[in-house]
């Protein structure tokens, strides 16, 4: 699988560190599964750290957006952290950066949930 995930927690925020490519197939589905797993355990504040995501395709964008809507519909928030240039480019081309709350600093991202 071309995507690795590590989940940790800080100040009540679930942070999922993603590494690799979020592309069509098993990799993008695993993001969905992890977010679903976290929300089913009651987590409502989720931060996806994309610092080590080298590439994302339209299927990956779909997974992020579906996860965002799913958390939002449960009254929670899903935010993005540390977009690489390639991911940021794709987000800008599709204008999806207008949908997500995107941060470059983990500490500030965590603080933004509280506010």
């Amino acid at each position: 699988m071309s995507l690795k995930m590590r989940t940790r927690e800080a100040n009540g925020i679930v942070i999922i560190d993603l590494s690799g490519q979020i592309t069509l197939g098993e990799a993008s589905a695993s993001v969905r599964d992890e977010v679903r797993d976290q929300t089913s355990h009651g987590s409502r504040k989720i931060l996806l750290n994309l610092a080590d995501v080298t590439y994302i395709d339209s299927a990956g964008l779909g997974e992020l957006t579906a996860a965002f809507m799913s958390v939002k519909n449960r009254g929670g928030e899903l935010k993005l952290l540390n977009l690489t240039k390639r991911v940021r480019d794709v987000m800008q081309i599709t204008k999806l950066y207008t949908v997500f709350d995107v941060h470059d600093d983990e500490r500030k991202a965590i603080a933004s949930f509280a506010s």
Binding site: L24, A29, A66, D89, I93, T94, K95, V99
Partner: protein, 315 residues
């Protein structure tokens, strides 16, 4: 129709029983070595000292995948591929080389190697393709070159995602050998629309065939993709995102049991200058214009490369 059966008799009959990889060339122990990456993906491998040793081992032992020595040329590797197929017709070959011309890359595609990569090599990517080659079905793996030169390549392929990935990898490598090259992001647009053709046009049926062409003119780069589907109206697809509303389609996809997605056309159309569908909607052109400054830069690069000889094509 299975293109692989057409040109590789015995392919399915002689599928190697071993799920093993044979790496030609000396063993590397660096942190980012191919060996380390293959091990991380649970791909069992052995080494061969050179071509003769590889053929000897292949006679004795079934291997599913052979990876050539990155220090031998594409021409040398393709000669070896012919020998390998005499011994083990079903084996998949990944060609690694220090460099390559557009013509050599086309020849590798004609010879139906699984993948051809030239330096600088990415061990992680090669390991990932190797894992795919080990897992892939023996049938429906065909990519057939209908005609090709450096300005116009026509392909027919069985419609599966692995073929799409292999073909995209070919065009990415091919692009790097061209003096007048399309922008890198055009490959993203191509891959997105190719995925749509496979998933929606061919309904993920690998027995169905797609046709693909890539054309390079003085002022533009063009991809053409044709699928065997019934087509669609690009302005009437509720399961795809629109620029006006980026999330409305999610509910449509949820209700119809589709996987999350729907951003392919939006992404592709944001990259290319023109995305033109035929009347039926099962053929599409992706066109990227080169502006005057890009053309001047390309002319400069071309003259520099021509005057520098083949060495500049080697990475």
């Amino acid at each position: 129709m299975d293109l692989s059966e057409k040109s590789e008799p015995g392919h399915s009959q002689d599928h190697p029983s071993g799920r093993r990889v044979l790496i030609i060339g000396y063993e590397r122990h660096s942190e980012d070595s191919l060996e380390k990456q293959l091990a991380s993906l649970d791909c069992p491998f052995m080494h061969a000292a050179g071509s003769a040793d590889a053929l000897r081992q292949l006679r004795d032992t079934p291997f599913a995948v052979v990876i050539t020595d990155p220090e031998t040329s594409i021409q040398e590797d393709l000669a070896l591929v012919t020998e390998i197929r005499r011994v083990r017709p079903g084996v998949r070959v990944i060609v690694l080389a220090p460099g390559g011309t557009p013509e050599e890359l086309i020849e590798a595609l004609r010879q139906r190697v699984f993948l051809c990569q030239v330096a600088p090599l990415n061990a992680r990517e090669i390991a990932r393709y190797t894992a795919s080659a080990l897992e892939a079905s023996t049938s429906h793996s065909g990519i057939e070159v209908l005609s090709a030169d450096r300005d116009w390549i026509s392909i027919r392929m069985n419609s599966d995602m692995l073929n799409a990935e292999r073909l995209t990898a070919f065009f990415k490598q091919f692009r790097m050998t061209l003096p007048n090259r399309p922008p890198e992001e055009m490959m993203i647009a191509f891959e997105e629309i190719l995925h749509n053709a496979i998933e929606h046009g061919a309904q993920n049926d690998p027995s169905k065939l797609l046709e693909v062409a890539a054309v390079r003119t003085k002022r533009a780069f063009v991809f053409y993709i044709s699928d065997p589907g019934k087509g669609f109206r690009p302005d009437a697809i509720p399961h795809a995102a629109s620029a006006d509303d980026l999330t409305r389609h999610i509910e449509v996809r949820n209700k119809s049991g589709m996987r999350p997605g729907g951003y392919g056309i939006l992404l592709a159309s944001g990259i290319v200058d023109e995305l033109i569908y035929s009347e039926i909607g099962n053929e599409v052109l992706l066109i990227k214009h080169m502006d005057a400054s890009e053309r001047r830069q390309s002319a400069y690069e071309e003259s520099w490369i021509l005057s520098s000889g083949d060495e500049t094509l080697k990475c």
